[in-house]
Amino acid sequence: MIAAVLLATLGAGCTQLSSNQTTQSGGITVTDDAGRTVTIAHTPNRIVSLAPAITEDLFALGLGDKVVGGTTFDNYPPAANNITKVGGFSSPNIEKIVSLNPDVIFAASENKDTVIQALEGYGIKTVVIAPSSLTGILNDLSLIGKVTGTTGKSSTLVANLTQRMISSNASVASHPRVLYLVWYDPIMSAGADTVEGDIIARTGGINVAPLANVSGYGTLSKETIVALNPSVIIANSAMNSTAIQQVKSDPALSTVDAIKNGKIFILDTDIISRPGPRAFDAMELIAGIIRQAS
């Protein structure tokens, strides 16, 4: 590992052996969220983003005009709609990406290793951005800042978001049991190692998914939900009104407090399930829901 960093750093033509630091020649070596060491020789001018959240990060850092490729799901800020599309999350079109001649690609955890390997094979620097908590989002904004030479902007943004950050165990009267619904049929939720799980715990809720052994995104059986009896349900808007109606009218869930008392809240999936700057908006919305329910 050290040898790899050493070689990479020497390769970039500098004398410093230290990750995450700007070198004298303007080259930089960083460790990404997949634990890979990536050396960027010069400040990138052409950037491809392989996740909507990363596109939002880039726009928030004022790099919108440098983003030459994005996913079909990119829609925020509105200008992101005009970016050349390189495909969906897990299956971007590699030929299209290569044809855009990017200096750096920011990939998400959903991108398969084979995609990343293929892109690196074409000599394109690829940095994996995969935060699993709000702190992780802040670290990644700094990381993107370093890679793109916008550390000034990124530290201001990180400072602003840090100010908004609810420091864990928010002062709430009581801690309501919260079920976050990613999907119904089967019921899927998010564990502690996700941004959503972090937000629920941080804002004073008790996320029931980890109590049912869910880590990452996983399924929960109905009888476990009946037994855990959440008092608040926060549903991702990817569940449309028919799906929400099914949850409300499911006789098997009729004893669940959240359903009995009508405590079902729907949050815009683009805000709650994208680990970018808007996750802090989701945090404030969820904090409001939990404060009201506690």
Partner: protein
């Protein structure tokens, strides 16, 4: 074993299995409470249990166990009918493209975001019927349908529909995970309304197949000799194909694609009933129910609190057992 003894043993095993299906789950409920909750349905007694426990037993485990019983029985009976009709040990209810047809119908609806019990089952059902009839039409040579053409067009249509399903999955983005789970097969969505629809379909389907038990016995000696012995082969094919697509359509619609049950159950049951369909059909119905209930118990208990698609369990247990069966009885597998 005598036929009646076999059926009695299977019926008793099924009874015990249904009780296990209600008793075993990720949430522990004391047996005496379960008995009290069930007794209360007939003779109201004092509540010694919580409302949540009653809901788990009556609204979750009971409909789920019955759904497993019905779907397991239906697929097994459909498998028996297909294997006899095509005189082919590899035939199963899905071979005619019925499952991938149903899968495509449902996937189309799900990828449009119209997820609900209202739209998905009819779409799956329409897909199953459409696929079966297309395959049947493709297999016609003059007034008769050819068994080998039927199997080949079934495989071709399955491949076509599977490709279309994959394409929909590729396009569907946010609805992807629901599609993936649905295609792996699961009984987690079971509710009484589904049981109410599935019960008459499987019951009537089984009775129809059983009514043709004698004809199916004769079919084993070959289509031509069956014809000579007075079997109306073409109408038998039509009636049984429609019956099977009804059973498969309803099973796929509510539970997704649960493989292997329709293929292995008839083979296993044949080893203790012999090839006579008068015994094979009811015994397969009972055994299919037992098998799927146990597979579902494993599916919901394997990872506590979580749901493993039951299709994974049936294939994981079914495939090695089937290999063993094929090897150990290689001389008279069919």
């Amino acid at each position: 074993m005598k036929r009646n003894t076999t059926l009695l043993v299977l019926a008793a095993t099924l009874f015990v299995t249904v009780i296990a299906g209600v008793a075993i789950g990720p949430v522990w409920i004391a047996p005496q409470k379960i008995v009290a909750i069930l007794t209360n349905l007939v003779f109201p007694t004092n509540h010694t249990w919580s409302e949540a426990e009653a809901i788990i037993v009556y609204q979750i485990r009971l409909p789920r166990t019955f759904m497993a019983l019905l779907v397991g029985s239906g697929l097994a009976v459909a498998g028996v009918a297909m294997q006899a009709l095509f005189k082919n040990p590899l035939a199963d209810p899905y071979v005619l493209g019925a499952s991938s047809g149903a899968g495509f119908g449902a996937a189309l609806i799900i990828s449009f975001g119209l997820v609900s019990a209202v739209f998905v089952p009819p779409a799956a059902f329409a897909g199953a019927i459409f696929a079966t009839f297309t395959v049947y039409a493709l297999s016609m040579i003059g007034p008769k349908s050819s068994v080998s053409l039927l199997l080949l067009s079934g495989i071709a249509l399955s491949t076509l529909f599977s490709a279309l399903i994959s394409f929909l999955m590729f396009l569907s983005g946010e609805n992807l995970h629901q599609l993936v789970f649905w295609l792996m097969g699961g009984l987690w969505a079971s509710r009484w309304e589904y049981v109410e629809i599935t019960f008459p379909v499987v019951l009537v389907g089984t009775v129809i197949v059983y009514a043709y038990a004698r004809d199916l016995n004769l079919m084993l000696s070959g289509e031509e000799s069956a014809q000579h012995l007075g079997v109306a082969v073409e109408s038998l094919k039509k009636i049984l194909l429609v019956t099977v697509s009804f059973i498969v359509g309803v099973a796929v619609a509510f539970c997704g694609i649960i493989g292997f049950v329709g293929l292995i159950v008839p083979h296993v049951v044949r080893t203790f009933t012999g090839p006579d369909h008068k015994a094979l059909i009811p015994a397969s119905a009972l055994f299919g129910g037992i098998l799927l209930i146990w597979a579902d118990i494993i599916a919901r208990s394997a990872i506590p609190g979580s749901e493993v698609p039951v299709g994974i369990i049936t294939a994981l247990l079914g495939a090695p057992f089937f290999m063993y069966l094929v090897r150990s009885r290689r001389k008279n597998i069919f």
